[in-house]
């Protein structure tokens, strides 16, 4: 079975801990994205799976076998590198064929396989060229072809699309997803681009400072972020995180002071468990409704900057107490700079995070 499992994996470089107690399992046919800011340990995690870094602690299990002490060449995995890592002195055809030399495959079979993946990835016309004679997109596809030409245990991708321009990135995203769907292998993709993760992954593992903050489906991590970090990391424009002072909670409504304004906001019932005190309120920019008249359920703010984004308009607003709020409204809703806004957060999309940043949810 093509599976990957990390059990309490820790990787230290000297006194620096790059990856800490990571538990992660990837089922056959599943695509898991490791997502996080740079330096969060996601690439190290990938290299640990590949065997390019040894684990300090814990177990790496691939296809049901503990692989901790096996070198990369014995792990039977395929990896696509960020900078493609094509062999500069070999033609694209030879590059794709390279992994096949070790499996005792006949020359005819080798050629047939190279031609097959070259056809899938539209590389037939560049098979005789050297890596420095082809375009970035072709290099990306060649690296991909080299990975799928074999029948490995699993696939690893390190920032596979980061070097492509926006247009190419979109088409490659679809292409990679399509190819992976036909292979039913455990796949791990490292990326810092949330859109890439949200579109390609079955599940996303969000990492920060060597720890996995949350693992879940793209829908889950977006709709139910486990903590304030995940909430702010996923979604564009970023979720508004407002410092608040919780006073009371009754009948599904929390009384709190947000940026100096006393508000009564409908929230999750689990907020009842919280003691009065500091909390953080998270509301996505699209979860506000701008109303004409303010009441105790709205936040009043003044539009400071308007950014038209095409179908929608992003408004940067500021409350009297100086808290910044991002609001996205439809294009038809005309707002002028300096205009007063009454913003009503959608109660189903209002997240409450406790003093430690953990989501409070029933």
């Amino acid at each position: 079975m093509s599976t990957i499992e990390l059990r309490k994996v820790t990787k230290r470089f000297g006194s620096f801990t790059a990856v800490k107690d990571v538990d992660l399992s990837v089922a056959a046919g599943e695509v898991v994205c490791l997502l996080g800011p740079s330096g969060c340990g996601k690439t190290t995690t990938l290299r640990v799976i590949a065997g390019l870094e040894s684990v300090t602690d814990g177990e790496v299990v691939i296809a049901g076998k503990v692989m901790n002490n096996l070198p990369p060449e014995k792990r039977d995995i395929a990896m696509v590198f960020q900078f493609y890592a094509l062999y500069p002195s070999a033609s694209i055809g030879e590059n794709i064929a390279f992994p096949l030399y070790h499996d005792g495959i006949s020359r005819a079979e080798r050629t047939a396989r190279v031609n097959r993946v070259a056809a899938i990835l539209h590389l037939e016309h560049v098979l005789d060229r050297l890596p420095n004679q082809i375009s970035e997109g072709e290099k990306q596809r060649a690296a991909m072809a080299r990975a799928i030409v074999r029948d490995p245990n699993c696939f690893l991708f390190d920032e596979p699309l980061s070097r492509l321009d926006v247009e190419l990135r979109q088409s490659m995203r679809g292409q990679i997803k399509e190819v992976l769907q036909g292979l039913s292998k455990a796949t791990v993709i490292v990326t810092h681009d949330q859109l890439e993760a949200l579109t390609m992954a079955d599940r996303i593992a969000i990492m920060k400072d060597g720890l996995i903050e949350q693992v879940g489906s793209p829908h889950e991590v977006f709709a139910k972020p486990a903590n304030a970090f995940v909430a702010s990391f996923i979604g564009t424009p970023q979720m508004n995180l407002l410092e608040a002072d919780l006073k009371t909670f009754a009948d599904g409504t929390a009384e709190m002071a947000v940026a100096g304004i006393n508000l009564a906001i409908r929230t999750d019932a689990a907020v009842a468990r919280l003691q009065p005190g500091k909390v953080t309120i998270g509301v996505r920019p699209r979860a506000f409704t701008a109303t004409d008249t303010g009441d105790r359920g709205t936040i009043s703010a003044r539009a400071e900057l308007i950014e038209p984004m095409g179908a929608e308009t992003l408004i940067h607003a500021r409350t009297a107490a100086g808290a910044d709020i991002r609001v996205v409204v439809t294009r038809s809703q005309r707002v002028k700079v300096g205009e007063a806004l009454n913003l009503r957060p959608d109660p189903r999309q209002t997240h409450v995070f406790d003093g430690a940043g953990k989501a409070v949810r029933s």
Partner: protein, 312 residues
């Protein structure tokens, strides 16, 4: 074929001329000519009749260039001197005898290529080790390796002579080849290490993930990427070894004598004063092998020495 040979010298490449412009190209050509002048003078001297070598003013050209050059600057080219290199009479009236220079040329070629190749093989492997599997205190070891080249040869030679005496290596091929290999090693390791340092580690990681062992990664992936470096190191090592005089003088025997040593003896023997045309002929012949090697490796060489600056 003719085109490609001309191409090697940069002729027929319109783009090259376009970039620099004729004025600058001409200026460089003048400087290059001045640079080449001593070599050219020696080559011409090799073709001069014996008496012409010390003429004042000197004869300058084997041809009058259709009357452009006045007759008293023109000499009549002869191949006589090249014959004398290998066989000539050693006494004023004696019959011609073999000079042994065929042997000396063989010695030079054998000793230089053996030691440079040996240093290249050992040094490249060592350089890969220093680059990829650094020891604790890696730089210290690299520094120590270089110390052999930090002292003037004349200083280093004293302990070397003593060591060679004790183990009986003086005058043997093995001894001189070992010595040259050791000296070339320092240069080879430093040079090749910098080439390996430039390679992308990702490519090697990819090869390992694709199932290659460490050895295969080295031979199939790394080595093909540093061919330019190997060529450059080979040529520089060859030139240094080929022209080496002092060690050869003190450590080679009659059978293992190299051309620079023999040249010195040819000049100072015979009691007739220095035979300049003969010397020029030896030098001209001596120039040919290195010139050919450099010429055929030139394309690699240029890429080799500009690796870091151009390739990225």
């Amino acid at each position: 074929m003719a085109e490609s040979i001309l191409g090697k010298f940069g002729f027929g490449r319109a783009s090259g001329v376009d970039k620099a412009g004729w004025g600058r190209t001409l200026a460089v050509a003048v400087v290059a000519f001045i640079y080449f002048l001593p070599v050219l003078f020696i080559i011409f001297t090799a073709f001069k009749p014996q008496g012409d070598a010390l003429l004042v003013p000197p004869t300058l050209s084997p041809t009058s260039l259709f009357g452009l050059i006045p007759d008293h600057f023109v000499f009549k080219p002869t191949l006589e001197n090249f014959g004398s290199v290998f066989s000539r009479s050693m006494t004023p009236d004696g019959a011609p005898e073999a000079t042994g220079f065929d042997r000396y040329f063989f010695n030079s070629i054998f000793i230089a290529s053996a030691s440079v190749l040996l240093a290249l093989v050992i040094g490249t492997l060592a350089a890969f080790g220093f680059s990829r599997y650094p020891l604790k205190g890696n730089d210290t070891y690299l520094f120590i390796i270089l110390t052999t080249r930090m002292l003037p040869a004349i200083v280093v030679i004293i302990p070397v002579i003593l060591m060679f005496r004790v183990v009986g290596l003086s005058g043997s091929y093995l001894g001189i080849i070992m010595l040259y290999t050791a000296f070339n090693l320092a240069f080879t390791i430093w040079m090749m290490k910098s080439f390996f340092d430039e390679l992308s580690p990702d490519v090697e990681d990819a090869a390992r993930i694709d199932g290659s062992s460490g050895m295969r990664v080295f031979f199939k992936i790394c080595l093909p990427q540093v061919i330019a470096g190997l060529a450059a190191t080979f040529v520089f090592g060859l030139i240094l070894t080929w022209n080496e005089f002092l060690f050869a003088l003190l450590l080679s025997g009659p059978d293992t004598r190299t051309v620079p040593v023999a040249m010195n003896q040819a000049v100072s023997s015979g009691g007739r004063g220095t035979d300049w045309t003969l010397l020029a002929a030896i030098e001209t012949l001596f120039l040919v092998p290195v010139f050919l090697v450099t010429f055929f490796l030139q394309n690699h060489l240029l890429r080799g020495v500009t690796f870091g600056t151009v390739k990225r």
